[in-house]
């Protein structure tokens, strides 16, 4: 293996995965926010109390006879244990999200939550930069609150293609004075990429943790910068998912394990939050060198025994 994989032991605790619950959840609110939709669901159970920042929810769209069989995954933006509700923010992308946006308050959707491995949280105070692209900021405000509750400091770097695709700039400013905003077209904040203000923000805060959520090329670039500045990089990936619960094996990424061996790991169970230095970003979508079991995919190999 030609990459560095030895990292110092993380002081952050990997959180255990709670048992997900499947339920028919009533829509309490559904309204546009900028280019997105905000969806509040009544979970009718203790689901909200079990949510940690980085967990996601998987929705089935259109009932039992729907022609859309696969689940749609969305980060949980907020969880309100008192009300038993969770809040999602979604973009209309294809057929499923289009149908979801056409739902009404009072309709029900089949919900499974909470799912996945959330962002790791330290017991004590840390300084962290939270980086997000577009709706990728959805899980970040809850995360910021948890870090602040533990006496830590946070900064935000929020980016999007254009102003309407930014989510939560106001929420970020309410939590911290350290907020940088970029847009590709310069329609809000500074023109450029989230990676432009990131080094300055890491230095300003003396950050040891960088949490990010957004498209893969962004997560890769953020990880490179975080690593160069001596901070740990926790990345929430968005890989195409069919089930969201770990039974279909569609959502895999090449990830380097504790033993230094690369395996295809499921982003719905081992992720969506991964140590960014362990994901072989440039090799996603390939069978990279050193991937365990890749030799077995070659029909001309000599049998091992």
């Amino acid at each position: 293996m030609d990459r560095e994989i030895q990292r110092s032991e993380s002081p952050l605790s990997r959180q255990s995965r709670p048992t997900p619950t499947q339920s028919s959840a009533e829509i309490l609110a559904l309204e546009p926010v900028g280019a997105y939709h905000r969806l509040v669901l009544d979970t009718g159970s203790d689901v909200a109390a079990r949510v940690s920042p980085g967990h996601f929810a998987a929705l089935a769209i259109g009932g039992r006879d729907s022609s859309m069989l696969l689940r749609r995954a969305f980060s949980i933006h907020r969880a309100d244990p008192g009300a038993g509700s969770i809040e999602l923010v979604f973009a209309v992308h294809g057929r499923g999200t289009k149908a979801l946006a056409a739902h009404h308050v009072g309709d029900s959707v089949d919900l499974i939550a909470p799912l996945g491995t959330p962002f790791p949280l330290s017991g004590g105070p840390v300084a962290a930069v939270l980086v997000a692209g577009g709706y990728g900021s959805a899980p970040m405000f809850g995360l910021a609150e948890q870090i602040l509750d533990r006496g830590g400091r946070v900064g935000f770097v929020l980016g999007a293609a254009s102003a309407d695709k930014l989510f939560g700039v106001g929420l970020a400013r309410a939590l911290t004075p350290h907020v940088a905003v970029t847009t590709d077209d310069g329609s809000y904040g500074s023109k450029g990429r989230v990676t432009d203000p990131l080094p300055g923000m890491i230095r300003e805060l003396g950050a040891t943790e960088v949490h990010s959520c957004g498209p893969m090329p962004m997560l890769r670039a953020v990880t490179e910068i975080a690593t160069a500045y001596g901070a740990r990089s926790h990345t929430a990936v968005e890989e195409a998912m069919a089930c969201g619960i770990g039974i279909c094996m569609t959502c895999v990424l090449p990830v380097v394990g504790e033993d230094g061996v690369t395996r295809f790991e499921r982003s719905c169970t081992a992720g969506p939050v991964f140590d960014g230095t362990k994901v072989r970003w440039e090799d996603a979508g390939t069978l990279p060198a050193g991937l365990e079991g890749a030799d077995a995919m070659n029909p001309h190999r000599v049998p091992a025994r």
């Binding site: 022609s67 859309m68 069919a242 039974i247 279909c248 569609t250 979508g285 079991g293 890749a294 077995a296």
Partner: protein, 316 residues
């Protein structure tokens, strides 16, 4: 609830409390599904296909949603039979799961090797030989597309396997005559037939102008293929009635989402039904489908599952 006898034969000396199984590759090795459905409540859980060695599977993208279906090209990712026997099977046995272990190889000997490793293992109620995969020794032709390869492989698995474990052969519908393959498998000693596996399909992405899946083609599953699956079960059961295929239980699958769908397979000749793609939509489907099937039988005045098996063939 009604008093329907839901017991279902798996082989001549194995009977299951109910006919509902999971389809291979759609429930992993059970751990994740167990959070939604207690595995002991299933007739059997069929594992993801296991090979004698570690396999990475294919690169991503591995799936595409299609109308009432999906394409997958997972490529049999797995940690190998030893890992399964050491790390997954003991847990499954502890849960009281009845496990139908799906095995495969790229050569006949590899099938036999995997089958032998399962001898006497607690929890294993049977073996499903997934012969719908390429035979490296026969120019990559799928075992189940060639009657003599199918015969040879099923024979080898039957010989290597624990005599107490029924051996099922999993058939692909992508053949000229599924009846001929079914005949070859039962002649070779198969104790049951699982059908159907996915149909080969493909999506070209009209935006990227390229095939959607990294593997170019993939297997089509879900309700979109149900009529093909019912046809296959019906044809093979008809051949059994006519005496041209030895009579063995059929595990029917392909797009089942409800008890009514399951009943369709039973009436066509299936003794058991397996749920695949529906689990991605509704992981608690097995419990629901079993209840719905039981009610559907009661509503039609059947007093046992057994009575309904192949009923569509009678009186016409």
């Amino acid at each position: 609830m009604s008093n329907i006898d839901m017991s279902a034969p798996l082989g001549s000396h194995v009977t299951l409390p109910n006919p509902v199984s999971t389809a291979s590759g759609c429930a992993g090795y059970g751990r994740e599904l167990h959070r939604f459905v207690p595995l002991s409540s299933l007739g059997t859980i069929t594992t993801k296909t296991i090979m004698p060695y570690v396999r990475s599977g294919r690169p991503t993208p591995r799936m595409a949603e299609t109308p009432s279906g999906m394409l997958n090209s997972i490529g049999l990712q797995g940690s190998g039979i030893d890992h399964f026997v050491e790390h997954e099977l003991p847990w499954l046995a502890e849960q009281g799961a009845r496990v139908l272990v799906s095995i495969a190889g790229e050569r006949t000997e590899e099938f036999a090797e995997a089958a032998a490793r399962l001898k006497g293992q607690p929890g294993v109620v049977g073996i499903e030989a997934n012969i719908s995969c390429p035979n490296v020794a026969n120019r990559g032709l799928v075992f189940a597309c060639d009657a003599s390869s199918a015969y040879e492989t099923v024979r080898a698995v039957r010989d290597a396997a624990d005599p107490a474990q029924p051996v099922y052969a999993k058939l692909t519908p992508d053949v000229t005559s599924i009846v001929d393959i079914a005949a070859a498998c039962t002649q070779a000693g198969a104790d049951g037939l699982s059908m159907i596996n996915t149909l080969l399909g493909m999506v070209v992405d009209a935006d990227t102008l390229r095939p959607r899946l990294a593997g170019t083609t993939g297997g089509l599953s879900g309700p979109a293929i149900r009529p093909v699956a019912v046809r296959c079960v019906y044809q093979v059961y008809a051949a059994m009635r006519a005496g041209s295929v030895r009579k063995v239980p059929i595990l029917g699958m392909g797009g089942i989402t409800s008890g009514r769908d399951a009943l369709e397979f039973v009436l066509a000749g299936a003794s058991g039904v397996a749920l695949g793609t529906v689990l991605f939509n509704d992981p608690s489907a097995p419990v629901r489908v079993l209840e719905e099937l039981e009610s559907a039988l009661a509503e039609r005045d059947f007093t046992s599952l057994q009575q309904a098996i192949g009923f569509a063939h009678t009186g016409n």
